[in-house]
Amino acid sequence: MAHVLAIGTEKGLFLATSDDDRRSWRLGEPEFPMTAIYAVGIDTRPARPRLFASVTNSHFGPSVAISDDLGDTWSEPDHPPLSFPPDAGAALERVWQFAAAGPDQPGVVYAGTQPSALFRSTNGGVDYQLVPGLWDHPHRPQWGAGFGGQAVHTVLPDPGDPQRITVAMSTGGVYRSVDGGGSWAPANRGIKAYFLPDPWPEFGQCVHKVAVDAGDPQRLYAQNHHGVYRSDDGGDNWQSIAEGLPSDFGFVMVAHPSTPGTVFTFPVAADGMRFPPEHLCRVYRSTDAGGTWEALSAGLPDDPYFPVVLRDAMCCDDSDQAGVYFGTRAGDVFGSRDEGASWSTIAAHLPDVLCVRAFST
């Protein structure tokens, strides 16, 4: 079995491959050089997994490429895979997230975009249509842009219930649908928006990433623009789980794929101080759903470290003993094959890492 780590960067997509159970990695040449790869998706439902890459060329705009041979070759349709309808008055800037639906919905793939919108494909991610229920939401004129733009960056279809979909956007916060995307309601109670006159609004939060617990689809974890939270009721209510972390700011939130209660994050000192706390490259892990946190440092740089980890630049793989991976804005990529206990360098000196996704073949 081979492990593959897809590394989306500011200047192309790199694939790292390991044939020795993640002890060593071989880094390939960049695909789509000089394009920003904000999202990589993997649909493992077909007999041969399908990869998706969000490819944004600073001159020639956004697109989506597909690979059905694990990244050896990529194809891109003549027509725009995603586009806003003429009456939307908007143009796609980039795709921020791909999410395959559950096994009961073969062919259904969601994409979260900038500007903030959700698209849905029913043919395996070849063509997508705008989900009008979210686009036409009366709150939309009040959704704002975070520092990275205005985007739906988190899409979480409930694999056990096709009617339930959760998205998160910056800014706007968390929204849920319980009718397959037809209608949407905000789900931000308890998440603070310190940058607004009313710091506890119904919506308008700058949620950076949401992850679902491995054992309970109703248990969610959120890294907010200051604030780390957990919900035990599918987003109805959120409570802080920031105690024990060196900072409540950051971008990533990754749930262990099979161990309930285990999550990983990479704190950043503050909104106005976007360096790792104390300039230390440290992953923080909780094994009790955010009740306590421990710093993971074995194998990570001990020198002062200044780059941060962006919202999709950390992930787990699906091995029995899950691998954990993250990439930084300095182009360093680290991996752990023992669930964060120890780390090694997979790649260095790449362009800014925007996203990582792992899979095995």
């Binding site: 500011e10 000089m34 920003a36 904000y38 944004t56 060329n57 600073s58 001159h59 020639f60 705009g61 697109s63 891109e76 349709p77 003549d78 027509h79 725009p80 586009s83 806003f84 003429p86 008055g89 908007a90 143009a91 796609l92 800037e93 500007p115 842009a145 975070g146 520092f147 990275g148 733009g149 205005q150 950076h208 971008f251 976007r274 941060v308 962006l310 919202r311 800014d352 925007l354």
Partner: protein, 114 residues
């Protein structure tokens, strides 16, 4: 009417490797049409090339420059610039584009800042 469209190297893979394309946007050889009509006609033959140049609402991408007989189209009416038979249209990526498109409300901002 027939016009010649010059394709930059970065986009030739989207039009079969051609460096120049002939486009016939009107039957009358003496006609003049808006640049938009020429690009629409180009898009009918080469849709992927077309979407590199314009977004789905039809706007010219910010860091793509189009010259009509040597003049920047943005200075002569944009997509309404008049094009005559025999004209030469040159598509060129802006040198500014390498820095990435600016985000909303933040001209010149580097993309991907978080």
């Amino acid at each position: 009417m027939s016009v010649t469209v010059l394709i930059p190297g970065a986009l030739r893979a989207d039009c079969g490797g051609a460096s120049r394309l002939q486009v016939d946007p009107a039957a009358d050889p003496e006609a003049a049409v808006d640049l938009e009509v020429v690009l629409d006609e180009l898009g009918r033959s080469w849709p992927r090339l077309h979407r590199r140049i314009r977004d789905e609402q039809g706007s010219l991408r910010r860091f793509v420059n189009v010259y009509v007989d040597g003049e920047d189209c943005r200075a002569i009416g944009g997509l309404a610039a008049r094009v005559r038979g025999g004209s030469e249209i040159q598509i060129l990526p802006s040198v500014a584009g390498g820095a990435g498109p600016a985000g909303p409300g933040a001209p010149g901002r580097k993309p991907g800042w978080h």
